[in-house]
Symmetry: C2
Subunit: 599 residues, 2 copies
């Protein structure tokens, strides 16, 4: 049985306790550094290489320290919402690290709020640093600009509490390092955002560097060995009782809680059929022969639905049962047939085992179930393929588009899909090995992918991944378009497919098929990159494709595929066309969400 | 003595009580309408002609009703922050009405939050309507998209409470009309934003139309006549005791609480010298011979500072003492020499008289002080002029730019100035009669003016005002640029001066003179309008002016001045140049806000 996982978890626990002891004993070494430097040193230890945000008068002093740091690059965004989105995208691709966004008091931090709430909802570790007035001003509460004019200096923090798992409002340089460590630990442990206010005067206060010698623990608390053993025995017993008729479903939290390697160990050692929920897509190599595709309740492909729902036992890893992740809550799997592995607990049928987390559990479970592999391999898995259909016209339909771009993808690509036709269309596409799928299926804030693509592309550069490829509709791109400029400025080279279908097509499917409010003003998309800072046309290239032949030719062009420049492709599509999965979802949503007596 | 004000206030009080009685007695007439129609009928009564926002699946049903309403136009914005900014700008220009922004649950409303908080801070009446899940879903709390994934359906409301003066979370069609009336009354009374959630199912519920017969009261509660008389006597006594040596200062709340007409009655009847704080600019006709310009503490022009601070008594109307509105809190006026008239109270020296509001008080005070006019006219007022200086070079300097554009302004223009070099530069420019000045001096969220200009231009169209003219820096325009597209789409024709000074110049003055974080990526500004939806070049015109001669020629061109198209002028300026007032403000801010040991 694997003991490496337990050892690592114990080592993390030792670090956690060391830091607690240091805080309680107020241990201070002789080395003193600036508080701002302390914060950056912690971020460096956590492999943060990019910090996103917008300068503002209460964070400029800290930015001096950031600008002088050789390992963390300041990415000045066009606005704060986009910056928060970028930090989120960065954290999703750069496992084992976190996203960082820096804003200023009031105006800046509130603009970022939807981005932070999205990271909370989708479980992405993001640190939100806010430059705030000095500790003296926090006490005297003058009517400074960026205040509400009524003396309430805590209103922004009160709002932030709703969308972060921990907050540190620094007031005292002595306790500030321990406070920073506390919220960073919470950020990683929960894979959710945390909030840190940095008063102008504290940034340049000297603090002890002593705590930096102990790393921030990245792993959850270790499982109790006795309970863990009982849980594994129970699971094995259940597997035996159903004669090894098991299917594994992988979902969002497997990625968010950094159990990707463990999951891959589980599926290869056991050989069970494996499927993903939409939010778990790309956790498992989609080219793996035991992988059957996406299970999403009643809007799954019929063959997948049948295979999953007829299995006697479902081993669910990191599930997150949201409407768009479950085909509007249409899982037809009884609890009596379900084992759920989560980051901080395990459910076996009707029983819950608190504090038994999957990261440590899975390798041991894989080792125990390994013996069943031969019989597991006899379980049939439908091939996950998506052939390009023959259509007798030149219109770029969703039916044709998604399998066609599927052929264009390569190993290690980072594929970002905006909420709407793109996030639904991509589900059916088998992605290459080592690719990363990025989408916001629970929170679903349109425009999110633009900032997110910037962050994802910077993370991909750090990790030597492949191309970053974004699919987005014209309506969504209008929300956050300015961040294309930051991509140019930072030299990342994503390929951006803009699906021009004249408005909010996902909404037309939900309500208002011919309503004007779902229309948008048409932009000159191929002029966009030039306008946003490539006047000489050296950094970028833009294209419009009007039909299948043109798109096909572009995708076959090796220069295009090499992505040596930032590229934008305007794809002309029908206003009322949508991928299969969106049509099915819209039908289900429409039933529960209908407006009486309306179109 | 004027009694019209008292009569109006009493009539409003009667309406307020009628509505309260109706709610308590649950009076219902025979006419039934949809709840969504009820809300729109109230907004029509309040002269709302434009509703801003972004469609989302929880507000689409309501949007059907909006789209069918002949009197309220749906302005679909590119994103929610811009929509909130637009509602704010609309409300500022359209006195006696309010701004309305419609968003969707979670993702939409949180994106708008900075815009709502800004309206709170600057006292602008804005109604934020949020389309939310059905009343049934609010109870069962499924893990819908746009939720936080933890079942907390009240988190957004908790955040909104920080930035709105009243909230109505509709749950029941029976009480909904009274709830809507309650928050609209609070919105107008406080001149601050309110928050309304509209569940999908309630929109189409039938409600009684009975309450619509009584209008929402627009006026504050009437003053107690005895106390009011005592206050006036006290003021007159004080005026006599200083031998009529009085100066009037007009500030933000005079505009926000709709006392513009009363203020003009006061200054013309009494003849006292009058000055404005920056946030009060354009309340008073700046061409009026007794108007002396802007008083802003120690950064005022020396002659203005001397005149104001040597007066024996200051009659301050609607003051709001924020840092940027007072020269960093450098008013040198003792409380013993001050009378402050506010929307809901009056201060005479050290005494406060609660519930004596200025709107009713001022006409009576003006009538009493009228007798002193002859002696008041003997008090000297410096001429408020700003001649164009002769400079021996062609560089477009701030010293030259602001007086030069001052000559370009016409009566009834709406002039919008972005936080930064623009908001400081415009202060010294005497504006024409009946012009409107729009700026966000307390909240100071950069990028705000772009959305705000859209709203201001639509309001100006309603009121038959003149041109809408925006001054904005290149850094600020990047935050919210997409809203230029909505202007084109809606056919408003602002003139937009983009001061291209290569980044955040106001910040360079505060901190980081040569820092990279204050640089921005340069855009091809003159291609922007074409890219954002005027590919054929028929709707808009763009220009770059590199020197004084070019700008001069453009400003003298009658076609340009006629503003028959939307126009953008890129004004090439020096990176380190700034207007006089910003330099002075930066010096003062720097002293209180310095980062130890930094550049």
């Amino acid at each position: 049985m694997s003991t490496q996982g337990s050892e690592n978890a114990l080592r993390a626990e030792v670090d956690r306790l060391k830091l607690e002891v240091q805080a309680l004993k107020k241990e201070e070494g002789s080395q003193q550094i600036l508080l701002g430097e302390y914060l950056l040193a912690r971020l460096e230890q956590l492999d943060v290489s990019s910090m996103f945000g917008v300068p503002g008068d209460f964070n400029l002093g800290f930015l001096d320290i950031v600008e002088e740091n050789p390992n963390i690059e300041w990415i000045g965004n066009c606005n704060e919402l986009n910056a928060a989105y970028a930090a989120d995208g960065y954290a999703r691709v750069k496992h084992n690290s976190l996203g960082v966004v820096l804003t200023t008091f009031g105006v800046g931090e509130l603009s970022a709020m939807n981005g932070i709430a999205g990271a909370f909802s989708e479980m992405v570790p993001v640190l939100h640093i806010v430059g705030v007035p000095s500790t003296q001003q926090q006490k005297s509460k003058p009517m400074l600009h960026h205040t509400l004019g009524d003396g309430r200096y805590d209103a922004y923090e009160r709002a932030a509490e709703q969308f972060t798992v921990a907050q540190a409002e620094l007031r005292d340089a002595k306790t500030a390092p321990a406070e920073i460590d506390r919220i960073l630990t919470e950020c990683i442990k929960n894979a959710r955002p945390v909030y840190l206010t940095l008063p102008t005067d504290l940034v340049y206060k000297k603090v002890s560097a002593e705590r930096l010698k102990t790393p921030i623990p990245r792993l959850p608390s270790p499982n109790d060995p006795d309970v863990e053993k009982a849980v594994i025995d129970e699971i094995v017993k259940l597997v035996d009782s159903v004669n090894n008729d098991v299917v594994i479903i992988i979902d969002a939290c497997a990625i968010r809680h950094d159990a990707r390697d463990e999951v891959n160990e589980l599926i290869t050692k056991t050989g069970y059929p494996v499927y993903s929920a939409p939010m778990g897509k790309s956790t498992v190599n989609e080219q793996y022969e035991r992988y059957g595709g996406i299970y999403v309740g009643s809007i799954s492909h019929p063959e997948i639905k049948e295979k999953v729902e007829s299995a006697k036992l479902i081993l669910s890893v990191g599930s997150l049962k949201t409407d768009f992740n479950t085909g509007n809550f249409t899982y037809s799997i009884p609890t009596a047939s379900t084992i759920e592995l989560h980051s901080s607990h395990t459910n076996i049928q009707y029983a819950t085992y608190p504090d038994i987390g999957m990261k440590e559990l899975i390798p041991k479970l894989a080792a125990r179930l390994q013996a069943n592999k031969a019989s597991a391999l006899a379980l049939e898995v439908p091939a996950f393929t998506f052939p390009v259909p023959m259509e007798d016209n030149e219109i770029i339909s969703h039916t044709w588009l998604w399998p066609r771009v599927g052929q264009f993808f390569k190993e290690k690509d980072v594929i970002v899909a905006e909420t709407g036709t793109s996030s639904f269309g991509i589900l059916d596409v088998p992605l290459p090995d080592k690719s990363t799928f990025v989408s916001q299926i629970l929170w679903g804030s349109i425009g999110w992918t633009v900032g997110s693509t910037l962050g994802a592309a910077l993370a991909a550069r750090d990790l030597n991944l492949g191309r970053t490829i974004l699919f987005i509709g014209d309506g969504s791109l209008q929300l956050t378009v300015q961040e294309l400029s930051t991509m140019m400025c930072r030299g990342v080279k994503p390929i951006i497919f803009v699906l021009n279908n004249k408005g909010y097509t996902i909404e037309r499917y939900l309500h208002g098929w011919e309503r004007k409010y779902n229309d948008i003003w048409n932009w000159n998309w191929t002029a966009l990159l030039s306008t946003l800072g490539d006047a000489e046309g050296k950094l970028t290239q833009s294209y419009t494709v009007n039909n299948k032949t043109e798109l096909d030719a572009l995708l076959n062009d090796p220069t295009f595929a090499a992505a040596d420049k930032m590229q934008l492709v305007e794809v002309m599509m029908e206003k009322h066309d949508a991928p299969r999965a969106l049509k099915a979802q819209a039908e289900l949503s429409g039933k529960t969400n209908r407006y009486v007596g309306t179109s």
